[in-house]
Amino acid sequence: MIWDWDYAIESLPALLRGLQVTLLATLLGSLLAFALGLVFALVRRSRVPVLSQLVWAFVEFWRSTPLLVQAILIFFVLPGFGITLSPLTAGVVALGLHYACYTSEVYRAGIDAVPRGQWEAAAALHLPRSRVWLGVVLPQAVPRVVPALGNYVISMFKEVPLLLAIGVVEVVTVANQLGAQTFRLVEPLTLAGVLFLLISYPASLLVRRLERRVGVL
């Protein structure tokens, strides 16, 4: 009895509920990473002394160290300093903060890809700074960064399972729980892997198509 189809089918509903949590964490984590990454990119570009160096140092440090450790730090250690978060919230914060370090680089590359002439034309029309950014630069930079951001969303999706270390009941946690109850881990774990493949592979094909349309940064 290597593979038990009945058991596999039986475990599917629970796994799908776990997958919902995985997707929710990915969605919220991505939104946080998109927003925070833009803030990081703009602060670094602003060249405000000290502040932009601090952000640079943080980004370099945070993306060189493991997300798992960061999640554990946020969930288990911060409560000792009066910051208590639920597992899902802590997980979303960890994902968002870690991926913001990547997305800030994406935005930076996207902003750098806006030709100098666009800045100069905006200056020659005496547009105020806010309009230069909101009216001219970002509308041109953002479409270019969409595929790269899409790749990070897929990447994040596949990293959500490490939040099992802080008790987020996502799909791999569910698989482990089922395995512990029945002493059969093969079916739920394999199905979990298949679910990841079923979502991330089509998503990455979609991103590759987008890349062909708008170009790779």
Binding site: G117, A121, A123, A124, L125, H126, L127, P139
Partner: protein, 243 residues
């Protein structure tokens, strides 16, 4: 209208302009000619505050350009610029390009800015393209829109930086005709960098020959083109005119 007084501009160790002084009268059309790298474009960029001077002062309408930021902004607003590469905003339609600055900077209402845009597109002969995106236009059409965009700010001074250099040869004539038209029907002060010697000749009141960051000859076009005094000017004209 424009006064350069002892202006020096360096990029690192490279001296681009050295001890440059000249004045341009209101409504005067001045063309800057000379070999590439002689500093012509830098003059336009300094006036537009895209670069800043290393030494010396630039005055426009009596107001120093650097110095007090707030007051110089008032003066800068009266200067418009057209670029070699058009630099239209690709994320906006032609209309968007034309009304952006008048509404955001001059505080015109949408309707006023729109009326102004339509009037200017009539002038440049592209009224039917008002809702197109710039990428759908030919180079010549894009440059005419860029000229209209600069004019929409009702500038007192217009800077033209090699505006036909990026165009296919057959599109050059249309843009130059438009500029002549603008030159004749307005009293805008125009500073123009160009390699089109025929245009320089009949468009400008004055031609300044640049070499090595200095003005080596400054004369009305009829004299500079027919009887240049400086050997460098003679050489340059011979090279570009092919005779």
């Amino acid at each position: 209208m424009i006064v350069f007084d002892g202006v020096e501009k360096r990029f690192g160790d490279t001296v681009v302009l050295s001890d440059l002084s000249f004045t341009v009268a209101p409504a005067e059309h001045v063309t800057l000619i000379g070999p590439s790298g002689s500093g012509k474009t830098t003059i336009l960029r300094l006036l537009m505050c895209l670069d800043s001077v290393t030494r010396g002062t630039i005055r426009v309408a009596g107001q120093e350009l650097t110095g007090d930021e707030k007051r110089s902004r008032q003066v800068r607003r009266r200067i418009g610029m057209v670029f070699q590469q058009f630099n239209l905003f690709p994320n906006m339609t032609v209309r968007g390009n034309l009304i952006e600055a008048p509404t955001r900077v001059l505080g015109l209402s949408k309707d006023e800015a729109n009326a102004r845009a339509v009037e200017l597109l009539d002038l440049v002969g592209l009224r039917e393209k008002i809702d197109e995106h710039p990428s759908r236009l030919s180079g010549g059409q894009q440059q005419r829109v860029a000229i209209a965009r600069a004019l929409a700010m009702r500038p007192d001074v217009l800077l033209l930086d090699e505006v036909t250099s990026a165009l296919d040869p057959e599109l050059v004539a249309g843009v130059l005709a438009l500029l002549r038209d603008i030159g004749e029907t307005t009293d805008i002060t125009i500073l123009c960098v160009t390699h089109e010697m025929g245009f320089a000749r009949d468009f400008s009141h004055r031609v300044m020959m640049f070499d090595g960051g200095r003005v080596i000859e400054d004369a009305p076009p009829e004299r500079l083109f027919t009887a240049p005094e400086q050997p460098r000017t003679q050489e340059f004209l011979k090279a570009v005119l092919g005779r």
